[in-house]
């Protein structure tokens, strides 16, 4: 098995999904969530993955299923709790719909608030 891949067992064999594929899905979904105006990468990752859709997204696998951490920037003046709740439910919903993997946790970290021009 390739390292780091997320595996789902089926009758006909295993299906492996690379964390980067999951991160892409999360990135696309998050970018469409209302209130999210950017992703916040950290330290070295930020430099390496500049402008990439997967910036600020960590995907890991736990015994209970997939764990996703998103570091987002939200528009100033919005209800942060409600924006985070939408991001969380929409990311979990899209991931389960598109990958069939169980999603154990989607942690939304609001790293910054930005006031658009």
């Amino acid at each position: 098995m390739q390292q780091g891949h997320l595996t789902e067992q089926s009758e006909l064999g295993a299906i492996r999904i690379a964390p980067d594929a999951i991160a892409q899905i999360v990135g696309h979904t998050a970018a469409e969530c209302y209130g999210v105006v950017g992703m916040a990468g950290k330290g070295l990752t930020r430099l390496l993955t500049r402008d990439k859709l997967t910036q600020g997204i960590d995907v890991s696998s736990t015994d209970d299923g997939l764990r996703v951490d998103l570091h987002v920037v939200v528009e100033y003046g919005l209800n942060l709790a409600e924006v985070a709740a939408t991001v969380r439910s929409r990311v979990a919903y899209e991931l389960e719909r598109l990958t069939g993997l169980r999603v154990a946790a989607v942690e939304v970290h609001i790293e910054d608030v930005r006031r658009s021009a």
Binding site: C33, E82, A85, T86
Partner: protein
């Protein structure tokens, strides 16, 4: 009337139309997540804003606009509530600066609302509340409406909003699939309708009867949330620690939110144990504003309401499909793809012309497509077509898997001609095969066949015969997949063969091929195959 009284009057009217349409809007909700709460969220957001307005003592428009913005931010519930809070914020900025509530102010307010709404998202999705507010702003600025008074302008905006809302399924695929318009957009339109009615002194419009087209059939098939109770409450106390509480509540369920400060925390959690969640609260301070909603009941009631509004078969479809199909599993497959009438029949049990005539007449459509699914049935189907006064087209499908490939393309909303073209194209692209048991010794297409042995056919020609099922099935599959086809559908028969070895070999030989195995239940053919 003071500014405040005026604002209250408009707000009350908007809230009243939302309340009246709340359930209908809940039923529309399939995006961003099909949880059926958009109408409820918008109504709760509007109520929170009205509570602040009712308690307000603002004496000038600028103060009022600030209070409104803040109330919307604090009271926003759900995704639609958040978008609405941003729309209101934009509008309030423009209204707060204005001296008069005239047509020019309304124009600026809609433009500011639309711009503010679009500002707060990285990649705006069309076919949502966003596209509806944008079109409202465009209509408000349309030079043709320059001379209109406020009341007339708002009426014009509602017309445009209805049109924009009706087009949301063209813009967003999930809406099209579920056969609904966007719920948030529908809610926004009701708010504008309420404000418009109040402005022109008219009564609040009645909620429209639920239209079967709006609450689509597929919207029923949405999953239930894992936990049963949506639990919301506020804890008031001293030195409240959000993180500790979060840790405790996290065990109970999901969608957890704990926001606030050391003196007041607002809690939101989806859980099966709302009592324990509240107990954590009472241990820390006093609790207030408890709301517990049974989400399963909500979802279930919504499903029931949607099912009620599904058109009964007496209503006319644009195009209906009659299919001749053997086996219970195959019947279900064809029905799931929308066949209006399925006649049991096929090899060695061809239905009569009269059976087909009866089925065509019982189909609730003026134009009917017939899928005979057997070369011996095509002729009776063509005869039946001549005996009825409906417009009938026979699609010459020669096998069940071929018919299946055709009906997958069926769209009831398209004309018979368009459906026919799509189905014929599907027949042209599909390759079909069968595995059966030979009934006598024979030589077929150069293949030596023994009575009682497995016989495999691909597109009507024998390709293999042997006592080994796996060998025959593989030979047929090889032949069908030969032309670079990538999807293989298998329909198992009444006498279901053991497919394990066959499937394993297929996977080794064609790892990229997508397999779909369905219990067909047809007699005589233990295995039917089709490749696309």
């Amino acid at each position: 009337m003071t500014e405040l009284e005026r604002a209250k009057e408009l707000g009350q009217a908007a809230l009243a139309t939302l309340e009246a349409n709340r359930r209908r809007i809940d039923d529309l909700n399939v995006y961003p997540v099909p949880d059926g709460d958009t109408g409820t969220n918008l109504t709760l957001t509007a109520r929170a804003i009205m509570e602040v307005l009712d308690a307000s003592t603002a004496e000038d428009r600028a103060t009022l606009a600030k209070e409104l913005t803040r109330a919307a931010l604090m009271g926003a519930r759900g995704n639609s509530g958040v978008i609405f809070s941003q729309i209101l914020r934009g509008a309030a900025e423009a209204l707060g600066e204005a001296g008069l509530l005239d047509a020019a102010t309304i124009r600026r307010a809609f433009r500011a609302a639309s711009d503010a709404a679009y500002r707060a998202v990285r990649r705006p999705v069309e076919g949502t509340m966003l596209s509806v507010i944008r079109e409202l702003a465009e209509e408000a600025e349309d030079p043709r409406n320059a001379a209109l008074e406020p009341a007339a302008l708002l009426k014009k905006l509602i017309e445009r909003g209805e049109d924009a809302l009706a087009r949301t399924p063209d813009q967003l695929e999930v809406l099209r699939e579920a056969g609904v318009v966007d719920a948030g957009g529908a809610g926004l339109l009701e708010i504008v309708r309420g404000v418009s009615a109040a402005l022109s002194g008219e009564p609040i419009p009645d909620a429209p009867a639920v239209d079967a087209h709006e609450a689509g059939f597929d919207a029923v098939h949405q999953e239930l949330s894992e936990f049963r109770y949506c639990t919301v409450f506020v804890i008031e106390g001293e030195g409240l620690d959000a993180e500790t509480l979060e840790g405790q509540l996290d065990e109970l369920g999901d969608s957890l939110l704990v926001v606030g400060d050391a003196t007041a925390l607002k809690i939101h959690v989806h859980t099966d144990e709302p009592g324990r969640a509240l107990a954590f609260g009472t241990a820390l301070g006093t609790i207030e504003g408890v709301e517990i909603a049974n989400m399963h009941t909500q979802t279930q009631q919504r499903s029931e309401r949607i099912l009620e509004s599904v058109p009964d078969p007496g209503l006319t479809l644009e195009t209906g499909v009659v299919a001749v199909v053997p086996g219970a599993g195959n019947r279900r497959l064809f029905e799931s793809y929308g066949a209006a009438k399925v006649i049991e029949g096929g090899q060695t049990m061809n239905p009569s012309t009269a059976d087909i005539v009866a089925a065509i007449q019982a189909t609730p459509a003026t134009e009917v497509l017939v899928l005979p699914n057997n070369s011996n049935v095509i002729l009776s189907a063509e005869q039946a077509a001549k005996l009825v006064d409906k417009h009938v087209r026979v699609i010459p499908s020669r096998s069940v898997p071929a018919g299946l490939a055709a009906i997958v393309r069926y769209l009831p909303s398209l004309s018979a001609e368009e459906n026919e073209a799509a189905m014929l194209e599907a027949l042209d692209q599909v390759a079909t095969g069968e595995v059966t048991v030979a009934s006598r010794d024979v030589e077929l297409d150069g293949v030596e066949v023994r009575k009682g042995a497995w016989l495999g056919l691909a597109d009507g020609a024998a390709v293999a015969s042997s006592a080994d099922f796996d060998e025959v099935a593989c030979a047929v599959a090889e032949k069908l997949l030969g032309d670079g086809r990538e999807v293989l559908t298998l329909l198992t028969g009444e006498d279901e063969p053991d497919l394990v070895n066959f499937l394993r070999r297929l996977q080794e030989l064609h790892p990229a091929v997508e397999l779909d195995v369905q219990p067909g239940g047809q007699p005589h053919y233990p295995l039917l195959l089709s490749a696309e």
